[in-house]
Symmetry: C2
Subunit: 419 residues, 2 copies
């Protein structure tokens, strides 16, 4: 690993060491840094302690080309990031008139008194450039010291991520890596992570393109990052290879979301969707409600935890009596009932038991997904007995993939990633 | 900070540095360590690199009494935690016959061939004691070196947390801190975090009891940890102080959950609950479905995103025409309709717009919660325009608190924390 592209992160705040706050910033930056050509060497989480922070910063500067800190830019005495950077570089802080004016303007805008403590947030040192923070009072610092860079960003993730995208990432790309970097994420479903990793890694032993494997709730994401003058053709070749290996399991790429693609298709084709949920208990509805424009196609969901309510919502009592509530027949009847009662083109259902709270008649982990449309009904079973985590998410993802397959097969939906 | 109680964590795995996995282990251990009397000095996240890991381990041992590693205990060449501990302590690894037998038994039990690579997982060094891992193939190590301790635990959170609770935490308590440590968590609702922190911290300037402030989806949790011979009376006094300061805002303690307490009361009193959701879109139902025994009191939920569906589900069209869908009248009518259609004692509703997907007639951020029972109806408005994150969770928590208040006032529910 050449020092030239070596990066490290220092996450600052005693609240992190007490577990009061989960450090999602380091994880976010870890996924982002490869897109700038930098390689993350380590992350250190440290408390609000001047000596410790200075020592860490000094060591990090010796090892790495760029040191990124998050946190410690607040107005209190415990916020020591600026003080430490100044001390390590042996520079003196002073109030920057422009930053002070901006700070006073922010307080005026919110009708709040500015405490004298806040003046720290207008400090600079000679080698620091201020990075605007549209979402908070603490500007970041971009500090150049010989060939090394220190970037100080605020701790709140909303502020940090925006500053990263608008200020830090572009600067790293133009000033440090000076590289053409292209990336592509390809999204798969229906294969276990271990198998995806084994098959993909056997083809990607080099680090250009670099391959990252991310297990997400909507399947496995493969992220390719290519750099250098040939990055475009390297990326294209790698992408073709992935299509060769995983073709039928690929459902999307880059910013595609599963339910977003389905929702777009439904809205564009004037189709509506209604749901009856048992095993997912509201999760399908909740995921759909997060898509912009869902009111154009989503007619609602009926959460039916008991036999009585399923019957009241239109599932024939005889079916439950004959086949049991967890059965393909009842899953299909639930989808039909949702479609009819909520006047939708397509009905989707989930039934069964995901948790350990099992009653006599039901097997834990066995669930059914049902779909009903003008072409009839279908159902699929799934057994989650061997899984332990995120069962609801797994079931929801499974239901959306069944819906996607149905739309492709029976409704001619072109739900394939472009390209 | 005395070295005697200083702890640090090394989270190991290149997948962490690539952002493929979020390090929740460090956060979990950070919340747990104060309960053992140890103080966390820093967390370092590092890749699967022998030299780097050995260097980190050596430095950590110089600084801290106990060094906890997670990850790097798998069977592959990249899993180097055992190798590094042995190297740093200048000891030689050897296969432990007992561990090997256990390992072979696990593979036999699952009907799988044991790869020769796995034999690493039966290694020990003279100063290491094996820690059982009932959820995986990698035992942990408890390593004693002079006055210092190294604990190596596996990376998968399910394996790590169980090993922590059963093996590591008890050993730290008995061998290292030798202290009487008591803790109590007190849960508040209805006050901003900054105000809670300011009011609480002015009373708790000492570190015995130590005060932690955790912002959670169900409000603010204050955790007190007292140690030493007087820990019982110290804790009791501190708890009384917190009741004095925050009395009316305290709703639970320790393992209490809001909907769990409500659900218990409903089940014990033979009352049932039904919901109609718009703004929370399935989230209330989903939260309730996570409580053991919810089938005893939860009759279901109707997710009604549009006026048409609300009307089809029993909300009078005239009310929507007259007052608009986002109004106290419609929120109450939704609660009534849920109660009637799902044959429940109590109806609860949420309506309004939480996201940025705003139609003409609706103001973003304005929501209503409605409740209906045999005593009539009530509603409350809430404006989330100034919040940006976790609006659904905030609204859901708000709805459950309104329900709790209603049960206390109109149904004589004793929904107070014991003690």
């Amino acid at each position: 690993l050449s020092t030239n592209y070596k990066a490290e992160i220092i996450s600052i705040g005693t609240e992190l060491l007490r577990g009061e706050v989960l450090d999602t910033n380091a994880n976010y930056l870890a996924t982002e840094l490869p897109l700038t050509g930098m390689q993350l060497h380590s992350v250190t989480m440290a408390g609000d302690n001047f000596e410790q922070l200075c020592e860490l910063l000094k060591q990090a500067l010796e090892r790495s080309r760029i040191v990124i800190t998050t946190g410690g830019l607040g107005p209190t005495e415990d916020d020591l990031t600026r003080e430490c950077i100044a001390a390590v570089l042996d520079e003196t802080v002073s109030v920057d008139a422009g930053l002070e004016q901006q700070l006073r303007d922010i307080f005026k805008q919110f009708g709040r008194e500015m405490s004298p403590h806040n003046i720290k947030q207008a400090w600079l040192i000679p080698s620091a450039e201020a990075l605007p923070n549209p979402r908070g009072t603490a500007p970041g610092w971009w500090v150049t010291n010989n060939d090394k860079i220190i970037v100080a960003m605020p701790g709140p993730p909303r502020e940090m991520t925006l500053m990263w995208r608008n200020e830090v990432k572009p600067r790293i790309l133009s000033k440090l890596s000076g590289n053409i970097i292209l990336s592509r994420t390809i999204k798969l479903y229906g294969l276990p992570e271990a198998e995806v990793a084994e098959r993909a890694e056997s083809f990607f032993s080099t680090d250009n393109p670099d391959l990252g494997i991310y297990a997400r709730t909507d399947g496995i994401h493969l992220r390719l990052i290519a750099h250098g003058e040939n990055s475009e053709s390297l990326l294209r070749q790698a992408e073709e290879k992935i299509y060769d290996i995983f073709g039928p399991n690929i459902w999307g790429k880059d910013d595609d979301t599963l339910i977003g693609m389905i929702g777009n298709w439904l809205a564009e084709n004037g189709k509506t969707l209604a749901i009856m949920e048992d095993s997912t208990s509201g999760l399908l509805a909740n995921i759909i409600s997060g898509i912009p424009g869902n009111s154009g196609f989503f007619n609602g969901s009926l959460i039916a935890p008991s036999d009585e309510i399923k019957i009241a919502m239109g599932v024939p009592k005889e079916l439950i009596d004959t086949h049991g509530a967890v059965s393909p027949e009842v899953a299909e009847a639930m989808a039909v009932a949702a479609r009819v009662n909520l006047s939708a083109d397509i009905g989707l259902s989930t039934s069964g038991i995901l948790t350990e709270h099992v009653s006599e008649r039901r097997r834990p982990g066995l669930t059914y997904i049902g779909i009903a449309d003008s072409d009839g009904q279908a159902s699929w079973s799934q057994n989650y007995a061997r899984f332990r985590d995120e069962l609801g998410q797994r079931e929801a993802t499974g239901a959306f993939f069944r819906l996607r397959e149905r739309l492709i097969k029976f409704h001619n939906a072109g739900l394939r990633p472009k390209g």
